[in-house]
Symmetry: C3
C-alpha cells in the first residue's frame, strides 16, 4: 500500500497523447488532474460534463482539460487542452502519469508463512499476513498486510490483495486479480436442513474460483460452493459490499455494482450488468447481456439482453410507466366515483 | 483454516446410509459430490432438481446420485444411487465424509494473548490474533488468525471464529457458535442526541449475547445494546453482511438471509424467517414464525405466522396481486377514458 | 478496546443532574442503566416509552428512571426518579458514569510502525497494527489492533480507530474521528472504460477526507476520489455497512443509516438524513436538510428540505398514499367491470 507517485506532464505532451489542441501556454506542467470544484494551483482541472459548468467560476486550477463542446464556456483557467472527450482523455493521461509500481518483492518479517507454502520470490507478503500450508502465491503478486490465505489456496500471477482480505481453503485465484480490503472469498454458504425443529448445518465443502482479470471491491463476501464451485468469470468487476451466494456463476465481463446480493446457484451469462443494491433469488438463469436495474428484486429467469427494474423485477420501461401511473391513481379513483354518481343519478331518474 | 479431508465411500455404503438402491456397479468409490454440470471423473454427480436435467448430457461424473422421480432421465453416468430425496441424501453423505476435524490446540507464537486472559488448553488461537485482559476462550474453541477478542469477552465451548473477526468488550458467546471472517460483534450502536445543532454521541455501554448454536456469516455487524443487551437467540443462523442494530432481540431458531438490516430495539419471536435484503425499522415486534419476504421494508408490527412482502410490507399474496394489477393500470386508464367519452357523448346527445 | 468502568451514582445525585425528583429512598445507588425488561437487581431500569409499559410487571431493577407522563403506571421498582424526559436523562447520566478513558499511550511491541511514520507519544497503537511510511497519528489518538494505515495517511487528534480498520494511502482524517471495526477508507472507486470488449480499470488516484467529529460504523466502505477527493463533512455520522462511492460529498452534520449506498459524484448538502438501505445513483445533488426514507431509491436531484420515499423516490406522503391506493386496485377493477357491463347493457337495450 505505497502511495503512487505521479509523473508530471506538459500541456503539449498531454495534448499530443490525447489528440487535443492547446489554447494558451503549452509549456505549463501539471502532476495531478482534479475536478473543477476541487482543483489546486498546480492541477489540471477536468470539465467533461456540462452539469458541472457552474464550478468553472472560481476554479483554482492551473490549466483546464475540457471537452470540445464545452470549450466556449466562460470562466476557469485560460491555459487549456481541448479534446473530443475529456473523460477519455483523462483516463489516457492518468494511465501515463500513474504507472502501477510493481510491489517490492519479499516476505515481511512480521508475516507468518507456513513452511509448506510456495511464495514466488518476486511476490510480496505484507506485515501480519498469514499464509497457510500448501498455499501458492504467483510471480509479482502482492498479499497485503494482515491478509489470511488459507491452506491450499492458489493465487496466480500479478494479483493484488489489499489488506485484511481472507481467502478460505478451497479457493483459486487466476492472474491479475485485484481484491480490495476486507473481502472474504470462499466463505461457507448458507445451507441448513431442518431436523427435529433445529437448523442443522449442511457441510459446505465446495470451492471458489476467481478467474483472470477480476476486480473485487472492499468488504465483499463470496461463498464457496456447497458442493461444486462458485465462479466469478474472467474480466468481471464487483463493487464494494457485494454478496455472492454458494454455487453462483457470474459470467465473464459482468459488472456487479455495490451492495448487490445474488442468492445460491443463480447463474449469470456473459456481460450482465447488475445495478446497485439489486437482489436475485436463488436458482435463476440470467441471460447474457441482461441489465438489472438498481434495487431491482429478481425472482424469475431473465432472458438475454432484457432490461428489468422494480420488485418483482419486470421490463424496465413498463415498470417505470406503471409507477408513474400509480401516482395518478388518486385521480383515477375520483373519476370513477364521478362516473358512478352520474350512472346512479340516471338510474334514480329512470326510477322516478 | 485447514482444508477438510474427505473419506471415500462406495456406492454400496452410500446407498445403505441413505436408504437408496444401486443401479450398476456398487463397488465404485467417490470422495467428492459435485453438481451435474461440474462433476469430474472421480465424483458422485448430484441431480436433485428437474431444472438441472439438461446438464446430464455431457456430465463427466463417475456415478450419479439421483432422486427417484428423476431416475429415468436420459444421459449421465450409468452407475447410480437412486434415493427418495437426493438433496437429503447428499447431506447425509457429506456429514459422513467430512467429519469436522477438531482444531489443533494451542496458542500460535504470533498471537498476542493478554496474561489476564483464560484460554483453555484444548482451544486454539491463530497467528496474529489478539485476546484482551479477562477474556475467556472455552474448550475446543478456535479463534482464527488476526481475530481481535476484546477485554472481558466470554467465548464458550466448541466455537469457531474464522479469521479477522472482532468481538468488542461486553460480548458473550455461548457454545458451538460459528462466526465467519470479518464479522463485528458488540459494535457501538447508532445513537445521538441533537445539542445546539450538533449530533452528540450517546454512550453505548450495553452488551451483546450470542446464544448457543448460532452461526453468523461473513462481514456482519451486530451492535451492542445502548443499555441492556442485544441478543441472538439459540440456533439462529445469520447469512453474510447482515446488520443488527442495538438492543435488537432475534428469537431462537430464526433465519436471517444475506444483507438484511434490523434497526434498533426491534424484537423477533422464535423461528422468524427474513428474506435477503429485507429491512426492519426500529422498535417493532415481529411474531413467532413470521416470514418477511426478500427486500421487504417493514415499518409496523407483524403478527405471528404472517407472511409479508414489499415496501411498506403487506400481506405477501395481496402485495403480489397488487403489483400484477399495477402493470394493468395503463389498460384501466384507457377503459376509463372510453367510458367517459361515451358518457359525455350521451350528455352531448341529451343536450341536442 | 478496554471495557469501560462505570462510576456509581445515588438516586439523589442522578435526580439533581437531570432536574428530576426522587420517589422513595434517595440513597439507593446504581452503576448501570438497563431497559425495564432486562434490568438486574443492581440496575436503574429505564422507562421512556409507553410501548414498553408491559415490561414493568416483573421488572427486576433496583430503581426506576421514568418520564413524568408514565410515572403513574403500575408495577416496577418503587424507588424512582421522575424526569421530564427519561431518554434525555439517561444520556446525561451515562455521560457522567462512563467518562471515556484516554487510551494508554504507546506503540504495542507487536505493532509494525514504519520508521518514517510519526506517531505522537500520547497516541496508542495496538498489537498487529501496521502504520506506513510518512503516516501521522495525532495526539491522544488510538489505532486499534490489526488496523492498517497506509503510507502518508494523516490521522488527527483524539481519533479512535477500532480493530481491523484499513485506511488507504491518500486519506486524511480530522480530529475526534471515530471509525468502527473493519471499515475501509480510501478504497479504489468503481471506474472502468470499455476497450475492445474488456473493462479496463481507470486509475483511481484521488483522495479521501474525513472531517472533524465524524463517526463511521463497522464494515463500511468509503472510496477515494477517482481524481479529486471524496469528503465526509464535519460532524456527520455513518452507521454500519454504508457504501460511499468515489467523489461523493456528504455535507456536514448529515446522518447516514445502516446499509445505505451512495454512487459516485453525488453531493449531499448539510444535515441530510438517509434512512436505512436507501440508495442514491451517481451525479445527483441532494439539498440541505433533505430526508430520504428507508429503502428509497433516488434517481434524480432532491430539493433542500424535501422528504422522499420509494423507488423511484417521490414525495413521501404522495408515495405512501399511492401505495395505499395500489392495494385498492382489485376493487377499482371490479367497479370498472360493473360500469362497463351496465353501459353495454344499455347499449344492448338501445339496439333492441
Amino acid at each position: 500500500m505505497s502511495s503512487r507517485g505521479a509523473r508530471a506532464l506538459t500541456l503539449a505532451e498531454a495534448a499530443e497523447a490525447t489528440g487535443g489542441r492547446v489554447l494558451g501556454d503549452a509549456r505549463v506542467t501539471f502532476s495531478r488532474i482534479s475536478p473543477v470544484h476541487d482543483a489546486g494551483p498546480e492541477d489540471l482541472a477536468l470539465l467533461a460534463d456540462r452539469r458541472y459548468a457552474d464550478d468553472l467560476e472560481g476554479c483554482g486550477g492551473r490549466a483546464l482539460l475540457v471537452s470540445d463542446p464545452l470549450s466556449g464556456l466562460p470562466g476557469g483557467p485560460r491555459d487549456r487542452i481541448v479534446v473530443p472527450d475529456a473523460h477519455r482523455a483523462m483516463v489516457t493521461l492518468l494511465t501515463m502519469m500513474h504507472a502501477a509500481a510493481p510491489p517490492e518483492p519479499g516476505v515481511h518479517a512480521a508475516a507468518v508463512v507456513h513452511p509448506g507454502a510456495q511464495v514466488c520470490p518476486t511476490a510480496s507478503v505484507g506485515a501480519g499476513a498469514v499464509i497457510g500450508a500448501g498455499a501458492k502465491v504467483g510471480s509479482g503478486s502482492a498479499v497485503g498486510a494482515n491478509c489470511v490465505v488459507g491452506d491450499g489456496v492458489a493465487i496466480g500471477r500479478g494479483c493484488v490483495l489489499f489488506p485484511s482480505v481472507t481467502v478460505y481453503p478451497g479457493s483459486d485465484l487466476g492472474d491479475r486479480v485485484i481484491v480490495h480490503a476486507g473481502t472474504r472469498i470462499g466463505v461457507d454458504g448458507y445451507g441448513y436442513v431442518l431436523v427435529d425443529g433445529e437448523h442443522v448445518k449442511v457441510p459446505q465443502v465446495g470451492g471458489c474460483v476467481i478467474e483472470d482479470d477480476v476486480e473485487i471491491g472492499a468488504n465483499c463476501t463470496i461463498d464457496r460452493g456447497s458442493i461444486g464451485r462458485t465462479r466469478i468469470g474472467a474480466g468481471s468487476k464487483l463493487d464494494n459490499l457485494v454478496h455472492i451466494g454458494h454455487n453462483v456463476i457470474v459470467g465473464p465481463r459482468s459488472l456487479v455494482v455495490a451492495q448487490v446480493g445474488i442468492a445460491g446457484s443463480t447463474r449469470l451469462g456473459e456481460g450482465v450488468v447488475l445495478g446497485g443494491q439489486a437482489g436475485l433469488v436463488g436458482h435463476l438463469k440470467i441471460g447474457a447481456g441482461a441489465r438489472i436495474g438498481a434495487q431491482a428484486g429478481v425472482i424469475s429467469d431473465i432472458a438475454a439482453g432484457q432490461e428489468v427494474s422494480g420488485y418483482p423485477a419486470r421490463d424496465h420501461r413498463a415498470y417505470l410507466r406503471a409507477m408513474a401511473n400509480l401516482m395518478r391513481l388518486p385521480g383515477v379513483l375520483k373519476r370513477m366515483r364521478r362516473i358512478e354518481r352520474r350512472l346512479s343519478g340516471e338510474a334514480a331518474e329512470a326510477d322516478d
